[in-house]
Amino acid sequence: MTDKDQYLVRKEPFYQQQGNEVALYEAAYRNKLPVMVKGPTGCGKSRFVEYMAWKLNKPLITVACNEDMTASDLVGRYLLDANGTRWLDGPLTTAARIGAICYLDEIVEARQDTTVVIHPLTDHRRTLPLDKKGELIEAHPDFQLVISYNPGYQNLMKDLKQSTKQRFTGFAFDYPTAELEASILAKEAGLDEATAAKLVKIGHTARNLKGHGLDEGISTRLLVYAATLIKDGIHPHDACRMALVQPITDDADIRATLEHAIDATFA
């Protein structure tokens, strides 16, 4: 049996509630409803899931999905060893056995035929057939499936099938309001509120430019990076340039505008 404790979230992750999402998630978990979390990059989707696992004191198994992932990467496969072959559970199977929350991050990156293996786990059956092994796993009562994706940047080809989408309850995340975001920066990086508010302001500048040369605005995560650098004693101009401007764009005009915003904000 796999060691269940290794998947537990031991330390409370910092999570700033934006609405009543914690209560809603708890209700979904009580009733074992699968959950979908969507929102722009770096807005706190993964942090939210981690926080809920800690709050519910359940193990959390995270899988970062990618295009080359096959169904057996999720379910499990036979491996060679000295005496022949040995079955190794995949993360999804492990979670179903030990009663963990299985979190499939950026699920749309996986190919559509791969994602179909989660279907039997997400409806009333709550089973996982292992066809190669000839086993049918009944999901542990504590098991829950959570997926996340970012509806913004995907192209037409990368979308979930309706049959997959309609197995989940959904949370739509967005960047927090300015005050909330400032307090997040303050708590996460230990920065003073005034400087944090300035960073948030620069963040909003970039978010206003989304669709005008920027695919995605500055995420809360990047703002936290900038706050961390400032806290470490880096000059705010340099910190912002390094954490907020350089990563998001190669467009000279946008860079000039953001740098002006930095100059104007940090007088």
Partner: protein, 751 residues
């Protein structure tokens, strides 16, 4: 310096040796000025030169102008320039251009003030020499018969030009004018007197400072990003209004900003634009129009100053970094610069106040001023305040500080213009349409008979290979939908080529280009798929049936090519092909039909257009098929109706086609040009000119990711076509094979 003595004056007068009576009126004053700025040696040279000018035989005028102007020139550029100036004058005197001597002397002082060094003045003289030499006409080998038409005009404009352009810019501008108009006296005069459109356009290009067009996107991003606002930005010209400089403003149609800005001290030009935009956005956010009817002009002016300061304060609150820019642009009036006994000081007082409201370190001591600064800050401490509250404060300021002298006609203007602010026209609302200026220019209706036909022309630049520069907005291109004809004609043509079509179809079915996709689970493939292979090995070892499909291969699927086919519809297409009854036009029709049919089968988006030209003012670009149109009867009808006429100005047509093709979202963009001759037009005498322009157009398209390919039907094309298209061309010698060749060529290109 000592004052001039009567004795000296007489000596000078004698030395001048002239009997023109007009001299007496100015002599004494000129000498007094000259003796202040000239050395003794310079004084001698000055008098000798004046004497020489008096004896030119051109009346008293040259000498009088010289006497008056030279001391100022010498003060600005140094007296050592005199020999060179005199040399130029004697050159003009000996040529047919002697008429230009007076304007030259007249503007010399104004020019010298802009060019405050002897070297720069030398350069200026060199420009004049160059212009004179190259534009003075000659007939039948007799040199210098006709005066230069542009020279007097240029000399008259010189101070203005030097105000707008750096000396190198003036040189380029002059050079452009000479190159393009040296055969055309009237046009030349128009160019050098800044009356023609391209003269102004070239000048705009050469101007110093930051051009609006270069920073437009940055400003747009600035508005969106920092202020979450978006508005059309409309530049106004600052070059041609000397008396009343336009001021930024905004209305329903957009925000008006100057077309060029210079750096102001430490403040960069882009930041000046940003300050203007921020200020206007501030008004849009926080200002409410006030009813102006009951307030006097002075009251309104005070309200504007106060309200502007409120806006700026709020802006700085939003972005503290703006303070550096705004204060850098804000004038700092000296406290006692204005004498209230003789001058109207209201502007001065308000500008000082405005400075003090924004700048905590203003250092003004006036008690009223400081009192109102405090009251202003007290109001602003409570929040955003409002236009109405701040207007109340402004009115009480006017009441408190009013002086009789405010009514004086002489107004103190120095250091009171705050040029990043707009003209506040949105701040006022008039209940009665009064005697204000705006009341007169309302209600301008378009006359009902002015019907708009066709789209307005698009202007494209043309490459001038002599100077390696673009002629801005040189070509006017008119686009339209091609008139329709009989679609069945095209169907008949297609039927005629049914055999070729069948052949083509087979090739088309085999076409599978682009977009690499990995296919896994192949028994035979190009590479071993490790994941699958290991799994199969495990199955094998485990005793299960292994999967033999352990290879993978790549294939290309889906095409993403946008094609634009540009047809040359010039007159030469009407010629009959040797040994055939058909004209080139008819053969082209057949070929294009087959190609369009083939491309339709492939599903690639295709646009077809034809072009012809009749001088640079009339390039016609006719759409036959749009990218999203199907190959249907409408399109066939248009193709059936194509006619040939006029000339081949290829560069403009390619730029226009590229403008559409560039906007397509496709991996590959292909532009096919079907032509039967070299680029030429009736208003271009140099055969290289349009070839070089087309080559430049190809380079531009290449830079934008568009692949150009030429299909030439001209047997002599080898002489020039590779100059334009490099190696991207095919010459079809036997034109009658065109219908088969064209689709084959396309397929070969896109396989």
């Amino acid at each position: 310096m000592t004052a001039i003595t009567t004795e000296q004056l007489q000596a000078y007068r004698a030395r001048l040796d002239t009997r023109f009576p007009q001299v007496e009126a100015i002599f004494e004053a000129s000498m007094a000025e000259a003796i202040l700025s000239l050395s003794t040696r310079g004084m001698d040279a000055y008098l000798d030169a004046a004497r020489a000018l008096g004896k030119l035989g051109r009346g008293a005028e040259p000498m009088l102008i010289f006497l008056e102007e030279w001391p100022a020139v010498a003060a600005a550029a140094g007296e050592d320039s005199l020999p060179k100036v005199m040399q130029l004058i004697s050159g003009l005197q000996r040529s047919p251009n002697s008429r230009a001597i007076n304007p030259f002397l007249q503007n010399l002082a104004a020019v010298a003030r802009r060019l405050p060094s002897a070297e720069q003045l030398d350069d200026y003289l060199a420009i004049i020499n160059d212009l004179t030499e190259r534009t003075t006409g000659s007939i039948h080998g007799h040199h210098s018969t006709f005066p230069s038409p542009g020279l007097p005009e240029f000399l008259a404009q010189a101070p203005f030009l030097l105000n707008q352009l750096a000396l190198s810019g003036v040189r380029n501008w002059v050079d452009y004018g000479i190159r393009n108009y040296h055969h055309h006296p009237e046009r030349q005069a128009e160019f050098f007197s800044l009356q023609s459109a391209d003269s102004r356009a070239v000048m705009q290009r050469e101007r110093h400072g930051t051009l609006f067009v270069d920073v437009e996107r940055k400003l747009d991003l600035y508005l969106r990003g920092l202020w979450n606002d978006s508005e059309q930005l409309v530049p106004y010209s600052t070059a041609f209004d000397e008396l009343r400089k336009p001021i930024p403003y905004y209305d329903k149609l957009g925000i008006r900003v100057p077309d060029v800005q210079d750096d102001a001290g430490e403040i960069k030009a882009i930041d000046r634009y940003r300050a203007t935009l921020a200020h206007i956005v501030g008004h849009r956010r926080w200002s409410l129009p006030q009813i102006a009817d009951n307030w006097s002009p002075f009251q309104r002016m005070a309200v504007e100053f106060f309200e502007d300061c409120r806006i700026d304060t709020l802006l700085i609150r939003e972005y503290p970094g703006l303070a550096r820019i705004l204060l850098g642009l804000h004038p700092k009036p000296v406290e006692d610069a204005c004498d209230p006994e003789t001058t109207s000081c209201l502007r001065h007082r308000l500008a000082m106040l405005s400075r003090a409201l924004l700048d905590p370190a203003h250092g003004y001591t006036n008690a009223d001023l400081n009192d109102f600064v405090q009251r202003f800050h007290a109001i602003m401490a409570g929040g955003e305040s409002s236009t109405r509250d701040i207007a109340g404060l402004a009115l009480s300021y006017v009441a408190k500080t009013r002086r009789q002298s405010d009514q004086f006609a002489k107004v103190h203007f120095d250091n009171t213009v705050i040029d990043y602010r707009d003209d506040n026209r949105q701040l006022w609302q008039f209940i009665e349409p009064g005697d204000e200026e705006e009341a007169f220019d309302e209600k301008r209706k378009i006359e009902p008979d002015e019907e708009i036909t066709g789209l307005p022309p698009r202007h494209y630049p043309e490459w001038d290979y002599n100077s390696q520069s673009y002629r801005p907005d040189w070509v006017s291109l008119y686009e339209a939908l091609h008139p329709s004809g009989n679609a069945t004609d095209i169907d008949k043509l297609l039927q005629k080529h049914a055999g070729t079509a069948k052949q083509l179809k087979r090739i088309l079915d085999l076409l599978k280009p682009q977009d690499k996709v990995r296919i896994r689970y192949q028994e035979e493939g190009s590479e071993l798929d490790l994941d699958v292979a290991i799994r199969s090995l495990i199955d094998l070892k485990g005793g299960a049936q292994p999967d033999p499909r352990i290879n993978m291969s790549h294939r290309t699927s889906g095409r993403d090519i946008a094609v634009s086919l540009v047809l040359d519809l010039s007159e030469s297409l009407n010629e009959k092909v040797a040994g055939s009854e058909q004209s080139i036009l008819q053969l082209s029709q057949e070929a294009v039909s087959l190609l369009a049919w083939a491309i339709e089968k492939l599903g690639d988006p295709l646009a077809i257009a034809g072009f012809s030209s009749n001088t640079r003012h009339d390039v016609r670009y006719q759409h036959i098929k749009g990218f999203s149109e199907k190959w249907n009867d409408e399109v066939k009808g248009r193709l059936a109706a194509i006619q040939a006429g006029f000339s081949t100005r290829m560069g403009a047509a390619m730029r226009h086609a590229g403008h559409y093709l560039g906007k397509r979202k496709a991996d590959k963009k292909l532009m096919l040009i079907l032509t039967d001759g070299q680029p030429a037009d009736i208003d271009v005498t140099d055969p290289r000119a349009l070839i070089e322009d087309a080559r430049q157009a190809v380079n531009e398209l290449d830079r934008d990711g568009i692949f150009t390919y030429c299909i030439s039907l001209d047997p002599k094309a080898d002489e020039y076509v590779s100059d334009i298209f490099g190696r991207q061309y095919t010459v079809i010698d036997r034109i009658e094979t065109l219908p088969e060749k064209l689709p084959e060529l396309f397929i070969a290109l896109t396989k």
